[in-house]
Amino acid sequence: MTQDAKLLEVRDIGRTFGGLAALSGVSLTINRGEIYALIGPNGAGKTTLFNILTGIYKPDSGNFRLEGVEMAGKKPSELAKSGISRTFQNIRLFANMSAIENVMVGRHCRTRASVLGAILGNSNTRAEEKSIAEMAKHLLDYVGLSRHAHMLARNLSYGDQRRLEIARALATEPKLLALDEPAAGMNPLETDSLKRLLETIRRDGVTLLLIEHDVKLVMGICDRLAVLNFGKKIAEGEPSQVCSDPLVIEAYLGAS
């Protein structure tokens, strides 16, 4: 029996901020294993959608399901536990913790050591602690940061901070990894290696949802994409289709 191909179904999501409709009636479906991109001019509502999908905002209307299970209304930590993890547009690392500690925090929801275990330091706890550290090391390696493992997050370069956020999000073992403008502020070289990283992540079985302004990156990497404008979805499909959509062209030209 094959698994259901649909990983995430978003239905009719709406959200207003003091009269401004940041999102209205947005629906989309993301399939298992694909890279799905979300583009649109500034203020189109992309980040707002992310905030809803990760529980930071509650939608005013609509709902969404992960693997068929209703998710709207859950807390961010519950959503992370269910398998949606994210990075932030304005990087939000734990600035005064080392890179490896940042990633270790990501393991929190997949581990269970209690206060008592921590104090007694019994063999289960020690084994778990060891596995956390190993996994964190592995993930730093995976995103290419192992040489900075013990640097404070705040002291990393911008590009490295973005990678660290990805490693931290991966540590929660997400089914869906949502990246909010991961290439922002990167030079072409860094963007290129980011692209390879994203492809590796996909190959390793994680579905990706990607907000990105770098059109070249988006078109080169995603399987399908949706375009938001003024909180509404104005187009969806494969890159080549969407590119030639007159509505999309107008939105971008009109906005710039």
Partner: protein
């Protein structure tokens, strides 16, 4: 090898300290050492809340009071109960923990400032209740407090024996507990829970988004910190043999907070250092009164006011000049270089009122 030597030296120092102090300065100063050790425990407890999890608790002494009154009620002629201390201490710690959770619960959804105010109020409220719960039933003994509390007894031996040397036996008991507290703090800090606390302190929203149930983890910090306070309270009651609301004033909370801040929030050695410093230094101010008397022929500045002024100044100066304390942890020291950055991440408004 060298490490062992160092350890042995420390152990010898800690073992001989009270006797040397007693010989050189007299028993009053051994008593001051005992209190310094109690303060170490209190400061380490508050450090869990303020230093590890970044939650400002301004009424910490209330938990100390809960522990102390638990002990006083369960081991004194007041109700005629005389439970052994190994039963009462956990009861006191547990009750304090429960109080901690009850207090934290309504505010943890909100910004840290609210917690600060609520704990500030709570510290006072506890005192008002302690002062007034002598009518209609005499529960707390009112302003007079509770007297004739049983000393701590190890088996058949009371720590008050031999008479007049209690300060020595309590020194070793408190030393044991203080070391245990430091040990537990260290273990917690380097655990999954400790990392979750640090994450919340750094960026609460990111912590929640990374799968940490911030509400529970914060409550846990609160309960843990409070139960340390309750434990020290029990020890205090057994040591003093007497409790009254006088001992649990806001001043005391401020003093403990100053110890944590001055020493270095979140850094265990720094906090221990801060506790010892502020427990012992103000004692030296006792000599200021007589000194003023002999110099000017009258008291010009009230010494206890001077002590508080010192705390006030140290809180402000440390925050302005050395926000990571006098003895910061090695990692926090590096962060001093670039301080403004965290603020940009402090978008706690999302959790503001009206969510």
């Amino acid at each position: 090898m060298k490490k062992h030597l160092k350890l042995a030296a420390y152990a010898a120092l800690l073992l001989l300290l009270p006797f040397a102090t007693g010989l050189a300065l007299g028993k009053t100063w051994v008593r001051i050492l005992d209190f310094a050790l109690l303060y170490v425990m209190l400061a380490l407890g508050l450090n869990i809340v303020v230093g590890f999890a970044g939650l400002l608790d301004l009424g910490y002494v209330a938990f100390f009071a809960v522990g102390a009154y638990c002990y006083a009620l369960l081991a004194s002629p007041h109700f005629g109960l005389h439970l052994p201390f190994w039963m009462i201490l956990p009861i006191g710690a547990f009750s304090a923990g429960i109080f901690g959770m009850l207090l934290g619960a309504p505010t943890l959804r909100l910004r840290g400032d609210y917690l600060a105010i609520v704990t500030l109020g709570f510290g006072e409220i506890i005192r008002i209740f302690l002062n007034n719960l002598d009518t209609p039933y005499n529960v707390t003994g009112g302003p007079q407090g509770i007297d004739l509390i049983d000393p701590i007894r190890l088996g058949p031996v009371s720590l008050n024996q031999p008479p007049g040397h209690a300060v020595y036996s309590y020194y070793f008991l408190f030393l044991l507990f203080a070391l245990a507290t430091a040990f537990v703090s260290t273990r917690l800090q380097h655990s999954r829970i400790g990392r979750a606390w640090a994450a919340i302190r750094e960026d609460e929203i990111a912590a929640e988004a990374m799968g940490i149930d911030t509400r529970n983890v914060k409550l846990l910090a609160f309960a843990m910190g409070a139960s340390f306070g309750g434990l020290s309270g029990g020890l205090f009651a057994g040591f003093e043999g007497f409790v009254s609301p006088e001992s649990f004033t806001l001043t005391e909370s401020i003093m403990i907070l100053s110890m944590v801040v001055l020493g270095g929030m979140g850094h265990i050695r720094g906090v221990v250092f801060g506790a010892l410093l502020l427990a012992i230094l103000p004692e030296a101010l006792r000599y200021v009164g007589p000194l003023e008397q002999s110099l000017f022929g009258k008291i010009v500045v009230d010494p206890s006011g001077l002590r508080m002024l010192l705390f006030g100044f140290s809180l402000i100066l440390v925050m302005l000049l050395r926000p990571a304390g006098l003895w910061p942890s090695p990692t926090r020291k590096r962060e001093l270089l670039a301080h403004g950055e965290t603020a940009k991440h402090e978008n706690t408004d999302i959790y503001d009122a009206g969510r």
